[in-house]
Amino acid sequence: MKILLVDDSKTMRNIQKSVLSQLGYSEIEEACDGVDALSKVGAFMPELLLVDWNMPNMDGLTFVKKYRQSDKSTPIIMVTTETERARVVEAIKAGVNNYVVKPFTPDLLSQRINETLEKVAA
């Protein structure tokens, strides 16, 4: 499965990559912000996206809105902080399938990914 990680923090991307590797996913592409992600989705054709909320150039929510204009079905997990929790509804309306609040443990991220994929498959 092809997964796109959109986060401006390389450390966070590495953590997510490590969790995904443990889950058996190896086809992973990275983007450092929404603009970078939009430039990569066409060629990479991800089957799951993990998107951080706060990023320079283009934030996660704006990216999701733009991405959903062309792709309605690929599952998106939003990575948020506690302060953004109140805006989760806005994100879901924009087309996010699930969310995970920082700080999260590798187990929690793994659980969110699995449940999102199960829901989409159902």
């Binding site: 923090s9 450390t11 966070m12 953590i15 490590s18 706060n54 902080t81 506690e82 302060t83 609040v101 920082k102 700080p103 999260f104 443990t105 590798p106």
Partner: protein, 505 residues
């Protein structure tokens, strides 16, 4: 009838082994209109085949004569067909083999150093090899089939037999295979020996002289016998046994099975002697040696660093200086010297395992330190979990990930170290038998104990562990045992390390 009428106007000469027939018309002859028929008749008398081509040539000759009767004229009127001889089958060797084969190769496949084709500027002289080594399945060359001949035909129509090519019968054994297409391949890895029609791959490399610049380094997939020694800085590797009849200098020797050093080793603390199974040596002087199983030494081990995976069997040998690790039992004539040379014998330990355990312990401590640091930082953030800034939330996520990673590493490393200890423990024995003397300056490490010999102990005696795990010495004449503390200064290494740490703290 005049003489002129009796003399034939034609001289017929069959030559080139019946392949040509030349007719000469004598000068001054008047052939009249029957010239051609007469010439044909003479040729028929000589059983020469008269073909249309022959007739044309006769006509041309007669015409030539008619134009100038006063001259003698000659022409080849019949030509036979030359036989095309066949070619014998032949052996075409690959380039790799051709150079040395043209030179003087002895039974071992070794050619003289001069015959090795190398360019002096771009070669490591230690890596020059005088042996043609091949891998199983490697192409050695091609066996070409003989080519058939085509028979010829004389001017009389007789067959001139062509020489037929003969097949080349190679003298070879099961070490070489010839495929149906003629490709010759090595059936096993080894050294190639070609002598005329004989081609073989030997799994035993017999080096007549020294391993030196004449031979280069040796890396052989089989047994190696070196009839003299191994010179400084050369490397000899074999997948099976190595026997060296002469002295091993500061060289490196690696045997996949047994290693026999009949001339001993004097390595000047350089190089390494290593075998996955047993090593037998006349003596070892300043060598670094690793025997996967047993080490058998005849005379002495001087200032050597020795690791023995099983037993050290040297009942007539003296060990002076250096360090010796023996995992299994150990029998020695004498340890140390009257001059109190520091000599360390470690019993019941495998050197490499001990080194790895130490390295793993160091790594474990580093990991535990990092784990504690990450845990501390995490706990601090955890107190304010509800009020974390986005940066703190990210930091906490990172810390949680680090804690998980370090915890996993700690668990894996701990179980690996304990598994290694258990594996070594299964084969480790503390059993040292000394036949003659153990001198002052000797340190014996027995499991968690260290014994410093401060007064000479006369043999024969045995040092082992009692049922409580304490070292004891048994006099092999009286068969009486005493605690090792009675004859040596003994201390627990665990207690000593604890004390060192306390002092450092």
């Amino acid at each position: 009838m005049s003489d002129a009428h009796e003399q034939s106007p034609f001289i017929v000469n069959i030559r080139e082994g019946g392949l040509e027939c030349e007719v000469t018309v004598r000068a001054g002859m008047d052939l009249e209109s029957t010239g051609e028929a007469n010439c044909q008749g003479e040729l028929r008398d000589l059983e020469i085949e008269i073909t249309s081509d022959v007739n044309k040539r006769i006509a041309a000759l007669i015409l030539l004569h008619e134009t100038d009767k006063e001259q003698e004229h000659r022409l080849v009127v019949a030509i036979g067909q030359e036989p095309q001889h066949g070619e014998d089958g032949r052996l075409e060797l690959n380039t790799k083999l051709v150079g040395p084969i043209d030179s003087d190769i002895d039974e071992s496949g070794c050619n003289s150093a001069d015959a090795v084709l190398v360019h002096a500027d771009d070669v490591d002289h230690y890596d020059r090899s005088a042996f043609i080594l091949v891998e199983a399945g490697e192409s050695l060359g091609t066996l070409h089939d003989p080519v058939s001949g085509v028979d010829g035909r004389s001017v009389k129509g007789e067959t001139i037999a062509a020489k037929q090519g003969k097949a080349l019968v190679l003298n070879m054994d099961e070490s070489v295979v010839v495929k149906s297409c003629g490709a010759i391949e090595a059936a096993m890895s080894g050294v190639v020996v070609v002598e005329g029609k004989k081609i073989r791959v030997l799994q035993k490399l017999d080096v007549h002289g020294n391993v030196d610049f004449h031979t280069g380094n040796i890396d052989f997939p089989g047994d190696v016998v070196i009839n003299k020694g191994v010179k400084d800085c050369f490397i000899v590797q074999a997948s099976r046994d190595i026997v060296i009849r002469g002295l091993v200098e500061a060289a490196s020797i690696y045997a996949g099975r047994d290693l026999e050093l009949l001339g001993g080793g004097a390595c000047r603390e350089k190089g390494e002697l290593s075998a996955d199974r047993d090593i037998k040596a006349r003596y070892l002087n300043e060598c670094d040696l690793r025997a996967g199983r047993n080490l058998i030494v005849d005379k002495e081990i001087i200032n050597a660093h020795v690791a023995v995976g099983a037993d050290l069997m040297a009942p007539n040998c003296t060990i002076i200086g250096g360090s010796t690790y023996v995992t299994g039992a150990c029998e020695i004539a004498e340890i140390g010297s009257e001059r109190n040379i520091p000599t360390e014998i470690t019993l019941g330990k495998e050197r490499e395992a001990a080194r790895l355990t130490t390295a793993a312990d160091d790594l474990l401590q580093t990991i535990q330190g990092k784990l504690a640091k990450s845990q501390g930082e995490h706990d601090q953030l955890q107190h304010n979990a509800a009020k974390l800034t986005p940066t703190q939330a990210e930091t906490m996520t990172e810390l949680q990930f680090e804690i998980g990673t370090y915890s996993r590493l700690e668990g894996t490393l701990s179980s690996a170290v304990s598994g290694m200890d258990q594996a070594v423990g299964k084969i480790a024995t503390v059993d040292l038998m000394v036949q003659k003397h153990m001198w002052r300056g000797v340190t014996i490490v027995l499991g968690d104990w260290e014994a410093f010999i401060e007064e000479p102990i006369k043999g024969p005696f045995r040092i082992s562990m009692d049922s409580h795990g304490k070292p004891i010495l048994t006099d092999l004449i009286s068969d009486s045992s005493v605690e090792l503390t009675a004859v040596a200064r003994v201390r627990s290494r665990i207690v000593a390390e604890g004390a060192d740490e306390a002092i450092a703290a």
